[in-house]
Symmetry: C2
Subunit: 138 residues, 2 copies
């Protein structure tokens, strides 16, 4: 927690945290992607995984999406892709140094999901329930 006074700061938007919205937006387009987060999280646990290993670990991911996600992560300098000239072919993925710096914020999100996921689900049910009442009234 490097930043003091992060929560409930009364400062105007453009004071301490100077990252522009557009820069943040650009990063979120890659990082905010569901599969990217899950792949990076997996590689953070396992350092060096094969394609099909990742495919099994990530759960709902399709082959196509895993390929695309890995390409984008490689393009962004977050994962290394090493091809072994063998038969049958083998490809392994691992986080780069830059990719490992992403683990901390990702784990923060991951832990938040674990800690408050049920709160969100409960709030959602409450919201939907009160909306059903409005529909009945009409």
């Amino acid at each position: 927690m490097p930043r003091p006074g992060s929560q409930t700061s009364l400062e105007p938007p453009s004071s301490g945290r100077s990252t522009t919205c557009t820069a943040m937006s650009d990063i979120l387009n890659r990082i905010g992607d569901k599969w990217s987060v899950m792949v990076v999280a997996q590689l953070g646990n396992n350092t060096r995984m094969r394609f099909s290993e990742l495919r099994r670990a990530v759960d709902g991911v399709s082959q196509r999406m895993l390929t695309l996600t890995l390409r984008n992560l490689e393009r962004d300098g977050l994962v290394n892709r090493t091809i072994f000239a063998e038969v049958p072919p083998r490809v392994e993925y691992e986080l780069t140094a830059l990719g490992e710096t992403l683990l901390e914020p990702i784990y923060a999100l991951w832990d938040w999901a674990g800690a408050h996921g049920n709160d969100v689900a409960a709030a959602r049910e409450r919201y939907d329930a009160s909306r059903e009442q409005e529909i009945e009234r009409a």
Copy 2:
């Protein structure tokens, strides 16, 4: 920073961090959304903002997307929406207690974007450049 040893843990996938991928996936569908992150970050700075205030602050957001984002955040119990029966009408938004707990992981991401955004951009240029060479060769 509640968790010790978050980074570079060598533990197998299903050891310490037990949140399932599917639960994480569910949360990421809402939280991983670009606009949600930016709106929560703004409300973390400013506590209580009006609709058009947010619209101006968030930058590229369309009216429609801001509306939808705020509805979803309200539904998830992250944002309170209070309507003032006035003319002209006024609606104010603020983070709930649950929403404020989200600030920490969001700020972590935000700061990462500020610290490493240029690294990602550089990696992207390098990648694209090396791909152009391959095209020339063909």
